[in-house]
């Protein structure tokens, strides 16, 4: 019996070591094949430069050439070192209107629709940029950060224009101002407005309430982590959102928001 057990253990060790040997042999063969392939493709030198890092990071998977960020043949894809980015070119409104007219006359309505969507996109981007230009350079002592200005549109008209401006200082105090000309968001805000029962209160600390902003009904919210947020529906389909981080009090935040000329924005958006 004892002899049988010893024989079984010896057989197991022999099989295991033979499997390990075969596995190593297989890995060696794969590495050789990859090196030969890289040499043919002219990738050998770069692989040698990177091989140290790759082996360290890939650990036991070093034989698997696709384990590191989609690397192929044991080599990472090159990272982009510049190219100037996309040429900033908003759609040419007049040209797109001409194209739409031509497509419409030909009866290719799908093409005409695409051109109109591009024209709307162009006009909305112009509206957005005009509004950004009209906003004050500073609000409540916070300076505008033009690098974070954003205008986006989906070209469907009245459904997806958003404009963003940030004001900040060097002490983590920040006011983000967002204008959304977006019917879907309006529906959500109007639901809040029309359901007084949706007011929130936690342990006597009210974090949500209805308020007024320059005569418009609005909602103000507070959260310990994100600060103050004021949402003001204006006109038929636009929404102004102010988000204040590190404002001391609600009146401080409201005073800052009041420095924005909501009526002028409403007029620029063509709202009643």
């Amino acid at each position: 019996m004892r002899g049988l057990i010893i024989l079984l253990i010896a057989t197991f060790i022999a099989i295991n070591s033979s499997a390990q040997f075969l596995n190593k042999l297989k890995q060696k063969a794969e590495q050789k094949a990859e090196k030969a392939l890289d040499k043919k493709l002219g990738l050998g030198q770069e692989e040698n430069k990177n091989s140290g890092n790759n082996q360290n990071s890939s650990g036991t998977n070093s034989g698997n050439s696709t384990s590191e960020g989609g690397a192929r043949y044991g080599k990472s894809n090159p990272s982009n070192k510049g190219g100037g980015g996309l040429v900033s070119a908003p759609p040419d409104v007049k040209q797109n209107l001409d194209d739409a007219e031509a497509s419409y006359k030909k009866g290719t309505y799908g093409e005409a629709r695409y051109s109109i969507q591009q024209a709307i996109l162009g006009v909305e981007l112009e509206i957005g940029n005009q509004i950004l230009k009209s906003l004050p350079d500073a609000v409540a002592g916070l300076k505008k950060d033009e690098t974070q200005d954003e205008v986006s549109s989906n070209g469907f008209g009245w459904a997806g224009l958003t404009i963003q401006r940030k004001y900040l200082d060097n002490n983590d105090k920040q006011l983000t101002f967002l204008i959304a000309n977006n019917a879907a968001w309006m529906a959500a805000v109007n639901t809040y407005m029309n359901m007084g029962g949706m007011a929130q209160q936690t342990n006597g600390q009210q974090n949500w309430k209805q308020t007024k902003f320059k005569g418009n009904r609005a909602i103000i919210e507070y959260s310990e982590s994100s600060g103050y947020k004021l949402s003001v529906p204006i006109g038929q389909s636009s929404l102004l959102i102010f988000e204040g981080v590190n404002f001391n009090t609600e009146p401080d935040f409201m005073k800052a928001a009041n420095e924005i000329d909501a009526e002028a924005i409403k007029k620029q958006l063509g709202e009643q």
């Binding site: 739409a100 006009v123 008209g157 009245w158 019917a183």
Partner: protein, 198 residues
Amino acid sequence: MKKYIVIFSILISTVGFSQEFDKSLASARSAYSSKDLSNARFAMTQMLGVLDEAIAKEILRMLPTKMASLDYNVKEDRTTGGSGGYASGLYVNRYYGKDAKTASIEIINNSPLITTINAYLNMPMMGMGDSNQKNIKVQGYKCILKKEMPTDDGKQAYELQIPFNNTLLTLKANDTTEAEITQFANLIPLAKIATVAQ
């Protein structure tokens, strides 16, 4: 006679679209030239509505007037260019048959269901476990076939959803079989509709 009435109404509506389009185009150009951007945008959204309506009419003309033995109900044809302000896209609806045995085709552009349907079609795991739903192909297009709850008298209804990019075609049929609804779907010129609706 019915045929002539249809042709006449198509001609009338085409002239109407053209006038509306030209009017909105002139308004858009004039408003844009005078830097009245909000009114330029409004005129353009009106044009989108006109185009959606024209596309919808064109799709209606492509749809079969008969689904096997079921005739279409001309009075119930519906088309809408929905971009008159708050929603964009086209809508086409045609009904077939009478009484319990009916079918309908609905085509919606920019449907909110598109994302979910494409997820079902491209991730088979999502649909697993629902014995009343399966993915099939019609004219090479992947679709979702749903078996509805039978009616009180035991008649079976099916629904077939076919997405093309941002357009969704839904075919519904009552008192039918899986084979018959597939046969109905094969009567619809899907490739042509997909091209026009985009």
